[in-house]
Amino acid sequence: MGGFYTLLYKELLRFWKVSFQTVAAPILTALLYLLIFSHALESRVQVYPGISYQAFLVPGLAMMSLLQNAFANSSSSLIQSKITGNLVFVLLTPLSPLEIFLAYILAAIARGLMVGLGVLAVTMLLVDVPVQNPLWVFAFAVLGGGILGAMGIIAGIWADKFDQLAAFQNFVIIPLTFLAGVFYSVHSLPEFWLQASHLNPFFYLVDGFRYGFFGMGDVPPWVSLAVVAGCLLGLGALSLKLLSVGYKLRH
């Protein structure tokens, strides 16, 4: 297992060495979203009774930042190593596919949690947000980081060029996170879009996460947990499979 710890350490060090860009920048972006949206919509929107729009927005923004950064971590690490060729240093070692998978996904979760917690810490200085059930908060944060970490592994392995990875990010990850009910409750949507939202796995991540704060959500938290856990299993199995067969890594 020694090799696994080293790869995990390396993956953590990799983003931590540039934490201004990988942690501080997304926290600032989330803060800007909060200031602008809450300024524009505060007086017009109330999603849950007794909860201000600003407060409603905070968990969604934290989860969105967490997801995007978990994805960015594993995907960018893989594609950079692939394109510069230094992935060979990992491929030459006795590390098993499972060890490589776990190291990348745990580093993605770690960066996601750091950004998510950072967003919460900064925004909760400005907005009063209750935390009813921290266990749900934590569970969905970790699962969200894991799902996006696995998606990052898949995208990082699949993409041959940076623009393919950017396309994956812009056409899959960003739409799914924005349409996950970060800025609104899906119940405020027309029927068709309400149903469509239920097909978006990120919706359950945001909703379950938010449930941990307010004790209420659009769907019961256990449903969200089941969907999310199923997604993690499926995507985790797929990324592990790709690593095992060496798809695009070992010719």
């Binding site: 090799g3 080293t6 510069t84 060729g85 006795p94």
Partner: protein
């Protein structure tokens, strides 16, 4: 160094071949990169793998290192199958890749400690420091990889291949683009490793290096082994002596036509078996009444062998 190889020998019985390749084949699309290659390299050998670009040298190395998977055949390193028992096989193997790759996030020392850690050797600082010193990297040990010159990066690649003290070391074109001084230093070091019991496999474009260093050589062409022998035998068997001569008038006596090996500018080239035949050639020229304006007698080197073998003997 001696300690590490003693350990290497204890883990792997000395009678076992360092590398055993059986009928290895690999296709990339329509291209047969390797076409049924079989090869055994004994422990402790200094082995050269030669061939023109695209002959399959790097493919063979990639199969041994697990960077690519064979379509057929089997490959073993110190008796461990590179697919079935990849963990042990990779532990026994150090590879210096051809491309000058590095991770721009880390310093030299970090790079080496991380590489060592991948092999489960985390308290390996003393050995890492020793390699740094032996490869003259001490001054740059804490510099970021990005700031290093090409030659320095090459040394780090060599160091990375050695961090886990592998009994078998493969160097894929390690001296490409490296200055003379570093090249000599590198070879001194590699020779020492070989002297201490490590098996060395080398590919290089500098044939004089292979001639000077390798005890045995395999030549690859179109994914097949076209020559495999001790370096001395290859030199003996394939070449002989070459005569470079300028005649006045410039015409070859008819009985020498069989020795004709073409022109080199104004000079004629004649290929003979040994020095005894040089005399015959000169006698024939004298008899024909030709005047020798210029004469050079050359002992063939590995380059001649290489050219002959690769052109199809």
């Amino acid at each position: 160094m001696a300690v590490s190889s003693a350990r290497a020998r204890r883990q792997h019985p000395p009678t076992m071949p360092a590398i055993e390749v059986r009928q290895a084949s690999k296709r990339y699309g329509p291209v047969r990169a390797l076409d049924g290659v079989s090869l055994t390299i004994e422990a402790g050998e200094f082995f050269g793998l030669l061939g023109p670009n695209g002959a399959g040298k790097t493919t063979l190395i990639n199969l041994l290192a697990g960077l690519a998977r064979a379509d057929g055949g089997s490959l073993r390193i110190m008796g461990h199958d590179v697919v079935e028992d990849y963990r042990r096989a990779r532990r026994a193997l150090g590879v210096v890749p051809q491309e000058l790759v590095f991770d721009p996030f880390f310093t030299v020392r970090e790079t080496l400690r991380i590489q060592s850690g991948y092999f489960g050797m985390r308290n390996n600082h003393a050995w890492v420091d020793e390699i740094i010193e032996r490869l003259d990297l001490t001054e740059k040990a804490d510099a970021n990889m990005r700031s290093l010159s090409g030659g320095m990066k090459r040394r780090v690649l060599v160091a990375q291949a050695l961090v886990h003290r592998p009994p078998v070391i493969i160097l894929d074109e390690p001296t490409a683009g490296v200055d003379v001084e570093l090249r000599q230093g590198l070879w001194r070091f590699i020779r020492e490793l070989n002297g201490a019991g490590h098996t060395i496999v080398l590919t290089t474009h500098y044939l004089e290096e292979a001639e000077a260093l390798c005890g045995r050589i395999a030549m690859l062409k179109h994914g097949r082994i076209v020559a495999l022998d001790e370096t001395a035998n290859l030199l003996k068997g394939f070449s002989g002596v070459r005569i470079r001569i300028r005649l006045e008038p410039d015409e070859l006596p008819a009985q020498l036509a069989g020795y004709n090996a073409g022109h080199e500018g104004a000079l004629r080239l004649l290929q003979v078996q040994d020095y005894g035949q040089v005399e015959e050639v000169l006698a024939a020229i004298r008899q024909a009444g030709l005047l020798v304006l210029e004469l050079e007698i050359l002992q063939a080197d590995l380059e001649d062998v290489f050219v002959q073998v690769i052109r199809g003997k």
